[in-house]
Amino acid sequence: MNMKNLILISIAVLATGLASCKKEKKKIGEPASKLEGINANWVLTRVDQIDVTKTLAFVESDTLLEVTEVFAGSNPMTLDIKSADFTYAITPGTTYNLFPKASGSWKFDDVLYPSRVIFDASTAEELSMKLLRPVRPQDPNLVLKLDKRCNGKRTTSYHLWFTRKS
């Protein structure tokens, strides 16, 4: 094999190698259904409290403190959410229960790209909570932010971490 053939073979091998490195195009597919994701029985496993008076905080721990033990107690709340008929039911246990009702209706603010979960919308007991994380079928947690207000002014907030039971 002369030098010219050797170079040609080397180029061919290199080109084949490079071609094999090309990424295959994948299809994104349909976005995961949040309705399917939230449809579960959830148990409260962590609660963080927010100090809303601290407006100049440089680290998260300055404004956020875990309060699970005192807030949830020994028998934490469960939240059963059904997407089929958009109903929910709460078993408060020993938890500081800030839900005005034990059961009722719920909805997302946007079914495809939800940012809030609204319980008992358009009633006197309406409770709207920010969705802090996506809640797809594969996500283990439902994380809601509950703002407490007095005369229109926020006094504190709680981040409620629910874990999927079933």
């Binding site: 008076t53 403190l65 309060v67 807030f71 500081y96 006094t155 504190t156």
Partner: protein
């Protein structure tokens, strides 16, 4: 020159307060280890015998600590005030007195914050017409509360932090956390200790005081133990409204009083100096 500067400071810092208060301090908040000025507006006082006085006036103060006769800042006799307590006129019946509180009273900064100042202003001989009350050459008793500074890290604090007058923004139903930073402790006997408990008293809207245990029994109650969140940083969490088993229905906890103590209290060496009060905004649940 000092008087001009102080007068300027009075108009700059105290003019708003002066319209509403008989007595106040500058700066606000103070550093108890640094020089402060106590101001009294005689015209705002209930007792008016000193209005327009051309005689020297003297501060007479007994809190945070009444000093002994051997102390240089001793008040003196009622008929003969100690000359070092002479006040300075700022004009328009406003008088002031400068001091470094911890040196003047011989107390810690914590005691200044806890007890505040109690004082009156008098002539060198306060007897006046005699008989006590406003018939003597003095003002009535004046109280000045001392706010702890909010801008710097505190040894004992709360979460959420307090707003003005030790009021937290939350209700007694919310979670309340007492925070104690032992790393900032100056008391030698309490440095580095781990067996910390909280003696908690709740003042109800019915005017009664509720507690889990007496201060001496606090260390025997596991539910009163503080947790070490990180080295030297201790927290105690509770929901005041459901904390006291004997609290009657319909009564709300409006104030918490907390003292941090060791498990076995043998003396004041086993306690963090000071009682820490927190008021709740119970307008809403």
């Amino acid at each position: 020159m000092n008087r001009i500067i102080l007068s300027a400071a009075f108009f700059a810092f105290g003019s708003i307060a002066a319209t509403a208060q008989k007595a106040w301090i500058t700066p606000d908040p103070i550093n108890p280890d640094d020089s402060i000025t106590i101001w009294v507006d005689i015209k705002k006082c209930d007792c008016q015998r000193l209005v327009g006085s051309t005689e020297p006036l003297y501060i007479w103060t007994w809190s945070p600590k009444d000093r002994a006769a051997s102390d240089p800042t001793f008040n003196g006799q009622w008929g003969n005030s100690n000359e070092v307590l002479k006040m300075t006129p700022a004009g328009n019946d406003v008088w002031y007195f400068r001091m470094v509180p911890t040196k003047f009273y011989g107390v810690t900064a914590g005691e200044i914050y806890d007890k505040g100042f109690m004082l009156l202003v008098k002539k060198k001989d306060g007897t006046g017409a005699g008989g006590g009350g406003c018939n003597e050459d003095k003002t009535e008793d004046l109280t000045i509360k001392v706010e702890r500074p909010k801008t710097q890290a505190q040894k004992v604090s709360s979460f959420p932090q307090t707003l003005k007058m030790d009021t937290v923004p939350t209700s007694s139903n919310d979670v309340f956390t007492l925070v104690y930073n032992n790393n900032m402790e100056e008391k030698v006997s309490m440095k580095g200790v781990k067996d910390l408990y909280v003696f908690v008293q709740g003042l109800g809207t019915d005017g009664l005081t509720y507690q889990i245990a007496s201060i001496l029994q606090t260390g025997n109650n596991p539910q009163l133990v503080m947790k070490e969140k990180s080295p030297g940083l201790f927290i105690y969490q509770m929901r005041p409204q459901v904390f006291f088993p004997t609290l009657p229905a319909g009564v709300k906890i409006k104030t918490l009083k907390c003292q941090i103590v060791r498990k076995d209290i043998g003396s004041s060496d086993d306690t963090v100096d000071g009682t820490f009060q927190f008021h709740f905004s119970n307008t809403c649940d």
